[in-house]
Structures are given as structure tokens and as C-alpha cells.
Amino acid sequence: MPLPEHLILEIVTPERSVVSEQIDEVQIPGTEGSFGVRPGHTPLLATLQVGELWYRRGEETSHVAVSFGFAEVQPDRVTILAQIAESAEDIDVTRATDAEQRAKKRLDTPALDMDFERARIAMLKSLTRLRVASRARNRV
């Protein structure tokens, strides 16, 4: 069987479909490390962690912030089901900065009953958002 030339990437959240495109390459933040997928990849099912996903179509690269969910890879198709997925253009930088400040403050002033894991994830999420957003601005 000849290798497919392109991948179809679909990123869906419970609320809507974020990306549905034909692409050449995608990099996915898996729980056990980031991995890249090009056309003809062997079928794979992986869970995601909070992180940055990027995909390339020709020369053009796009970034998406994703958190939790899983990726289903087939030779000609990648389906990402994520709880949250925001492409760089959609991210509200002010909100993300606020969230980052809040998370930082919480981590800096630890309280007895505080949920460290949640604070850490909040921090991670906001940082990912900011990083992805900054890439969008660099491109234009």
C-alpha cells in the first residue's frame, strides 16, 4: 500500500470543532512526551497533556494550545479530542496573563489546604497559552 501524501488533522473539543485541515506534519504533546506524526504513521492511541501542538501545511506552521484528551493516529488521519483547544489567534492574551499572575501568586504563597496539582496545572495552562499566543504575533 503506498504511503498517503497528506494527513487530515481534526481537532475537536466537546463544544466545537477547532481545526479540520489537510496537513503535512503535526507535533503532539503526549503524556509520555511529545511526538511528531507524518503521513503513514502506524496507528497510535495516546493521551495528551497540557501543551503546545503545532502542525505544518507546506511552509506554513500553526500552533494550538491543547489540554487533556487523547490523540488517535491513523496513517492518513489524526484525530485529537481535547478538553480545551485554542488556536493561537483565538487566545485572549490579557486573560492568559491574568491567569498566569494568579497561578503564580498561588504557588508563591502556599496555604495548608491548597491543591498543588491544580495550581501547577493552572500555571502550565496559562504559560502554554501565552507561548502559543506569542507565536501568532511573531508570525504577522
Partner: protein, 290 residues
């Protein structure tokens, strides 16, 4: 006989009511469109999820998962958690009363250990909160901007109650959107999760995947999502059904108002003519008298 002025006043009142029902109808129509769009938007996620879970179910020992375990038959009876999804607002025909009626039946048929309620939407809360039921949680004012996070909040409550062994099962009662003219009240068991269909419905199996991490872990991380998705679907269906019900109700109200105005106008004309006739007779008989 009512005076002309009274009838005119009445017509004006009906007309302004009609304007309101017309406006509400237009609003419902646009909200319904949006609700349907979000229902469509949620579908791919739910479908993919079920497909992958079905594939995984064939490879993992699903009976071990706490959310899939049926309560042992010899265990003492514990209450059933019933989550009632109603609307926040009225003026939508039988929407809320149907839900309340159906929920009442489910409660009446529940096992000896009784029920615990989760109330979503103001109308259902108004009804049940005062009747001395054990209310685990309530969630109101969410339908104006329905988010996945709301479904997550409900799922968290339901899963905690179930895992802690406080309830035997979790059911959700909501209005299903069949089409614009029809809503149907459905009762779904959410927990324990019904055994999953393994493989694809059309007999096509999932390809042999590499798993990262192993299937059991992926399965464990997906199952809670699956519960959330089910609640999210119930909320979306209910929202769409509510707008559809209101659309139909307001259309009927507008039509009734039109009929009422026609009747009143006819009546008003009759009264006016009777009055004119009366006046003419008075004048004629007055002239004859001279």
C-alpha cells in the same frame, strides 16, 4: 354592553401582548438555531469518544472499573440520584411541567431507599426544593451561556456520590430535542455506565494501535470524560428543546392574539353601529314628536 372605549382599550392591550409574543418568538428562533449548532458541534467529539472507548473495551477488563461496576445485589439499598434538567424560564408550553411530571413518576417508582435529587434549571428547583426532598446539588442560570464546564460540574457531583457509595445509580431526566415541534422527556441511566459495545457498530474493528500509555490507563482517563459528554449532551438537548418549545408556544400565542383582535374588532364595530342606530332612532322619534 361594554362601551366603545373599553373595547378599544382591550384591543390595544391584546396588540401589545402580541408584540411581545412575536418578539419572543423571533428570539427563540435565533436561539434555537444557535442551540442546534452547538448540538451539531458536540456530536463529532461524542461519536469519536464512543468509537475509541468501544475499541478499548474489547482489550481492557472493564468490569474492574469502579464507574462500570453494578452494585452487588446483596448490598444494602441506597438512594438513586436523579438529575432533573428543566429550564430557567417559563413561557415554553408544557416543557417544564412535562419534566416535573416525569421526574415525579421516576421518584415514585424508585426503590425503597428513596431518592436524592440534582436540580438543573430554576423551574425544576422551584418545584422540588420546597417539597422536602434530599437535594444534593442545584445548578441554575446556566442556559444563557451553556458551557462544557457546567457538564463537568454535574459529572463531578455525580461521580463523587457514586464512588463514595452514597447512591446506587445516577439517572438523568431531560427533554430530548426530536424536532422543532416535538420534545420528548427521556430518562437515562448514566452511572453505573452500561456495558460498552465493543468494536464498531458496523462490525468494523479498530486497527491494531500502539498505545501510549497502555490501554488500561487510556481507558481510565477516558471514562470520566465519557460521563461528562453524556451530561453535556443532555444539557444541549434540553436547551434546544426549550427554545423549540418556546418557539411553538409563542407562535400559538401570537396566532391566538390575532384571532382575538379580529373578534374584538368585529364586536367593536357592532357596538358602534348599534349606537349609531340608537342615536338615529332617537333623533327621528324626537323630530316626529315635535
Amino acid at each position: 354592553m361594554a362601551s366603545l372605549l373599553d373595547i378599544r382599550r382591550r384591543i390595544r392591550a391584546v396588540k401589545s401582548t402580541q408584540q411581545i409574543t412575536k418578539a419572543m418568538k423571533a428570539i427563540s428562533a435565533s436561539r434555537l438555531r444557535r442551540a442546534q449548532e452547538s448540538m451539531m458541534g458536540a456530536r463529532p467529539f461524542a461519536n469519536q469518544m464512543e468509537r475509541v472507548l468501544g475499541g478499548l473495551a474489547g482489550q481492557v477488563d472493564t468490569s474492574a472499573h469502579p464507574l462500570l461496576t453494578q452494585r452487588a445485589p446483596d448490598a444494602p439499598d441506597r438512594p438513586t440520584l436523579i438529575i432533573v434538567v428543566s429550564a430557567d424560564k417559563g413561557l415554553c408550553g408544557g416543557f417544564n411541567s412535562n419534566i416535573v411530571k416525569q421526574a415525579g413518576e421516576v421518584i415514585a417508582n424508585a426503590s425503597g431507599a428513596g431518592v436524592s435529587l440534582g436540580l438543573v434549571g430554576k423551574k425544576g428547583r422551584e418545584f422540588f426544593a420546597r417539597r422536602g426532598f434530599d437535594v444534593r446539588f442545584e445548578l441554575v442560570d446556566i442556559f444563557a451561556s451553556l458551557k462544557y464546564a457546567h457538564a463537568q460540574a454535574i459529572a463531578r457531583e455525580a461521580v463523587t456520590a457514586f464512588i463514595e457509595g452514597e447512591v446506587d445509580s445516577v439517572h438523568v431526566v431531560y427533554n430530548e430535542f426530536k424536532n422543532v415541534l416535538q420534545q420528548q422527556v427521556v430518562v437515562n441511566q448514566v452511572l453505573p455506565i452500561k456495558p460498552l459495545v465493543t468494536g464498531d457498530a458496523d462490525g468494523e474493528r479498530l486497527p491494531d494501535y500502539l498505545y501510549e500509555p497502555d490501554p488500561a490507563q487510556i481507558f481510565d482517563s477516558l471514562i470520566p470524560r465519557h460521563v461528562e459528554v453524556q451530561f453535556y449532551r443532555a444539557l444541549l438537548e434540553s436547551a434546544a428543546a426549550e427554545h423549540a418549545a418556546r418557539l411553538t408556544a409563542m407562535e400559538a400565542a401570537t396566532k391566538n392574539a390575532t384571532e382575538m383582535i379580529a373578534d374584538l374588532t368585529l364586536y367593536m364595530n357592532k357596538v358602534r353601529q348599534a349606537k349609531i342606530t340608537g342615536e338615529i332612532i332617537e333623533i327621528v322619534s324626537g323630530a316626529e314628536a315635535i
